[in-house]
Amino acid sequence: MDAHVAQLQMQYRNYILSLYQQGFLDDQFTELKSLQDDGSPDFVAEVLSLFFDDCVKLVGNMARALDQIGTVDFCQVGANVHQLKGSSSSVGAKRVKGLCINFKELCEAKNYEGCVRCLQQVDIEYKTLKAKLQDMFNLEKQIVQAGGIVPQVDIN
C-alpha cells in the first residue's frame, strides 16, 4: 500500500483521537459519524456546517442581549444558551456544551460579568472547534485524493 496514504491515515487517526482526548468531541460525534455512509458521504460535514451557522447566530443574539447594559434580558440570553447547548450536544461538541451548562447557571444568577466572560469563551471555543474539524476534513480529503480510504477510528 502507498506509504504516503498510510502515513496520512495514521496522521488522521491520531488527530481524531487527540480531539476526543482533549475533550473537543464526545460520543455523539461518534454516533454522527456512524450515520454517514456512501449514500450520505457528507452528512457529518453538513450537520457541522449547520451547527457552526447556529453558533454564529446564537452568539450574535447573546452579544446583542448582553449589550443592553442595565436592561439585559437574562431570560433571552438563557434561551439562546439553551439552544446552543442543544445543538452542541447533538453534534458532540463537548467543550461548547460544557460551557453552555455553566453559561446557563450564570444567566439564571443574572451574573452579568460572568455571562460576558462566558460568552467570550464560547466564541473562542466554537471557533477553535471549527478550525480543528476543518483540519480533520482536510486530512480526509488528502487521504481520498491520495487514493486511500478514510479509516474508521475506534475511540475505545
Binding site: L50, G78, A79, V81, H82, G86, S87, S89, S90
Partner: protein, 257 residues
C-alpha cells in the same frame, strides 16, 4: 423557579384525516423558548378518524414520523436517524407547521366524523435535552408513549417503531386500550399537582351505540411566562390557536379553556 428554558410545546390535536397509508408517530421536541407547563396533555386527544370501518389494514411496516423540533441541527440529525431506520420522515420546526402538515383546518375542527369511523391514536414521543425525572414522569403520565433524552441516538430511534406495532385502536370511539406497559398513574412526589389526574377517555362511557368522536381543541402554545412546572392551569392558548371549541367527549381538562 425562573428556569426559563424548560419548554415543551403544548400540542393537542384534532386530526381528521382519511385513510392513512402508513402509521403516524409524532416526535415532539421540548421547544427552547420561554415558559411551558406540561407536555402534550393527553395523547387520547390525538385521535385520527379513519374513514369507514372497512379501511384497509395499515401497512405496519411503513412508519411515518412527524418530527417537530425548532432546532435545525436537531431536525437534520433526527431525519437521518429516522431514514436509516426506514421511516418516512417529515421534519417541521413548529407545532403550527405540524398542524399545517396534518392538514388541520381550525375552521373545520368541529366537523362531524362519520359515526362508524374507528379511531386510532397517534402515538406521541417527547424528546428533550432536560433530564428531569418529574417532567419525564409527567409526560408519560399525560400519555406520551416514551421520552427520548437528547442527544438522540440510533438505538433510541429504533425503539420508536415499537409504538406503532401495538394496536391502540379505539373501538366505540371512547375506549382507549392502554398500552400494556404504560406506567401507573402516579403523581411524582415533587409535583404538587392540585388538579386531578388526567381523565382518560372514560372507559365507563355507556354510549357504546354511537361512538362519539373525541376531537379536541388544537392548542399549540409556547408560553412566554417563566416556567412553573407544577401549574397545570397556566396552559393558555396562543392567540392564533383559539379555534371554536369543538365537541369534547367526556374531557374534563383543567386549564383547557
Amino acid at each position: 423557579r425562573g428556569r426559563a428554558n424548560e419548554n415543551i410545546c403544548e400540542l393537542s390535536l384534532v386530526l381528521n384525516f382519511n385513510i392513512l397509508s402508513s402509521q403516524l408517530l409524532l416526535l415532539l421536541s421540548a421547544m427552547a423558548s420561554d415558559g411551558g407547563v406540561s407536555c402534550l396533555r393527553r395523547s387520547e386527544m390525538m385521535s385520527v378518524g379513519i374513514g369507514g370501518m372497512d379501511s384497509p389494514p395499515l401497512d405496519v411496516d411503513e412508519v411515518h414520523v412527524l418530527a417537530v423540533d425548532d432546532s435545525l441541527v436537531d431536525r437534520i440529525v433526527i431525519e437521518r436517524l429516522l431514514r436509516i431506520t426506514s421511516c418516512k420522515v417529515t421534519a417541521v420546526d413548529s407545532g403550527w407547521r405540524a398542524l399545517e402538515f396534518l392538514g388541520i383546518d381550525n375552521e373545520n375542527a368541529s366537523a362531524e366524523l362519520d359515526e362508524s369511523s374507528s379511531f386510532r391514536q397517534v402515538p406521541v414521543v417527547i424528546m428533550s435535552s432536560e433530564n428531569v425525572i418529574t417532567r419525564i414522569d409527567r409526560c408519560l403520565e399525560e400519555g406520551a408513549e416514551d421520552f427520548l433524552l437528547k442527544p438522540v441516538k440510533l438505538a433510541d430511534v429504533k425503539r420508536l417503531r415499537n409504538y406503532l406495532t401495538r394496536d391502540v385502536k379505539l373501538s366505540n370511539g371512547n375506549k382507549r386500550k392502554l398500552p400494556e406497559d404504560s406506567p401507573p398513574l402516579t403523581l411524582s412526589p415533587d409535583s404538587p399537582d392540585s388538579s386531578p389526574p388526567p381523565s382518560t377517555l372514560s372507559p365507563d362511557s355507556s354510549d357504546s351505540s354511537s361512538p362519539p368522536l373525541s376531537p379536541v381543541e388544537i392548542i399549540s402554545s409556547q408560553l412566554s411566562s417563566p416556567i412553573d412546572d407544577e401549574d397545570d392551569d397556566v396552559l393558555t392558548s396562543s392567540p392564533e390557536s383559539s379555534p371554536s371549541p369543538v365537541r369534547r367527549q367526556k374531557m374534563r381538562s383543567p386549564g383547557l379553556d
